[in-house]
Symmetry: C2
Amino acid sequence: SSRGCPAEDMEKEWETLRAWKERMGQELDRVVAFWMEHSHDQEHGGFFTCLGRDGQVWMYCRLYRKFQRFRRSELLDSAKAGGEFLLRYARVAPPDKKCAFVLTQSGLPVKVQRTIFSECFYTMAMSGDPALLHLFYQNEAVEMMDQIIHWVREDSSGLGRPQLPGAPAAESMAVPMMLLNLVDQLGEADEELAGKYAELGDWCAQRILQHVQRDGQAVLENVSEDGKELSGCLGRHQNPGHALEAGWFLLRHALRKGNPELRAHAIEKFLLLSFHSGWDPEHGGLFYFQDADNLCPTQLEWDMKLWWPHSEAMIAFLMGYSDSGDPALLHLFYQVAEYTFRQFRDPEYGEWFGYLNREGKVALTIKGGPFKGLVLLCSVQTLPPRPPPPPPPLTPDSH
Amino acid sequence: SSRGCPAEDMEKEWETLRAWKERMGQELDRVVAFWMEHSHDQEHGGFFTCLGRDGQVWMYCRLYRKFQRFRRSELLDSAKAGGEFLLRYARVAPPDKKCAFVLTQSGLPVKVQRTIFSECFYTMAMSGDPALLHLFYQNEAVEMMDQIIHWVREDSSGLGRPQLPGAPAAESMAVPMMLLNLVDQLGEADEELAGKYAELGDWCAQRILQHVQRDGQAVLENVSEDGKELSGCLGRHQNPGHALEAGWFLLRHALRKGNPELRAHAIEKFLLLSFHSGWDPEHGGLFYFQDADNLCPTQLEWDMKLWWPHSEAMIAFLMGYSDSGDPALLHLFYQVAEYTFRQFRDPEYGEWFGYLNREGKVALTIKGGPFKGLVLLCSVQTLPPRPPPPPPPLTPDSH
């Protein structure tokens, strides 16, 4: 790509990017059609497969709001039916705020996790869009958010996990990462809420940054509460998909705050470093789990390739490129997108496979499951469709 | 093998079997040497890697007691140090009987499961051998056993798992299977205890048999408490290794009770049926999980090959053969043993790999981990070393 004049190169790049945008758009249409057809429960409201985590209420609101072609009443009606179902059944023992991870079709709780994540996804769903849904939902989202903050920053005993003297006071990066996403979500269209959670957003960013360890050479999933590496395999545990996802949220936070140092740090450590250590040089794709000392992880599924880290990576690299114009980020987007469309997409029945083995063979044929719902593509779609800015001078650091 | 006269055939069979016994014996020596070298904590007692489940106390007692060549003081001393460590630290909050699943090196609890299994393995360890260990241990084993029975048959609330209205009252086969093993273990050398737990043994066998479903065509891991198939993927879930293990325990129970119907049923349903549906026709080896309708399981590791189902299968088939003389069972033992020794054994560093991918490639290089300790071979070793009885008439059923 170093042949030809810069203007021609830029034009070509732009064409490639546009082709990807179109491909993503077509994919999004297929995926939404798949879920519209298969996941709705006409009888009870709600969606089949994994209400807690699939975020279908949020996703449908988002699609309705951001895309002309999804401004269809059946999408909004489904989101509303799902929202009503969640409102009615998700909380296991109101007024207690703990939410179920799995519900039966008629809304009885089957499983409750002792973490904050079901409650976070509940908050996401309830914050889907105050203009579209009941205003009441927004209050529900804020109340749940405040409960989550209490669990994370004050007292976690309400989550039901016993405090054991041998268990280190570890922080999983997933926690501040998820919270930062909620802060962004709640503040997006509501300045009052943006103000209310501004300090929390900075706190989350600060806590996420503590997971960069070993003189900046590794992002670790678990660190001590004061930001030190933990001993043993818990401390060495890495989750490249989470690191890339955290990079996306940090980058967005940095852009909103106008913080160029944070932006550069997010790109360097959470996007580039995590990608280069997490990508399988032999078969392509991102590993699910790794060990920072290259020892063997203890999780049986560590070398599998999952759809979601690849979605996070595509979003993160496109956002980084869209902001910086650095072609290195664009080319990493291409690398992930090519792998992802080649390996995860199901050309026959629609939607994507979620779980491949290390070699890229489909290991599970399910399209939805306890941890997988509608594939996350609309964030890629909503990136500003503008031509790339002029490429910056090429320095060794930008590759 | 149908050529030659029957006597010659039998002689050849016997030679093959003896060769396998020798190979197993050598393997056992290597494996024990591995754990003697790597797992002992001289400072605190206990063993590194997963005290709760590896059963090293029980295993060392067993080896000491059953094998002339393991009647070595360091083995007994290690078992005692491990026993003392468990006695002192395993119970999280005495007098409560709940045991930790993971302890730190110095004995602080790290993780507690809301099941009976850590307590079952604690009972196993404490019942290692009353003559070798403290008599006090035996009392501890019986007290824990009575607590476990209370949790299983009377009231499970002490396990800490909330009762959720949407969760079906399901019985995992692992529960009566594990209990039956404990009944056998405790009663083995103690007639009083054998009497105390006789009714429980029959109850366990009865409950295990309820997991044979679909007109005898499938062993299901989870059924309702009154022995009906459950709906959804929970109901269709199969665990071939558990089915074979249950077959081993049922067979032993049937032999002790002199119950030929139960013996035949254990062989037909839990050994032969489970093996034939659980064996991967393409790459060999037993699947970890399956779905009774051949749908895709939701567990990411479903198609992996784990060491323990293969150990259970070898033990079960040899026990079945040793009792019946049916060469079909012997040939299944060969089939499993050949796969197992070819794929799991680590010729370089000793011990076995525990986790292979579907194709048989090593997926995790760990020798011990949260769920893997010393490889279970001594039960194969202790089978009666007698020549096989004359083969029974070959009927279609025996193949």
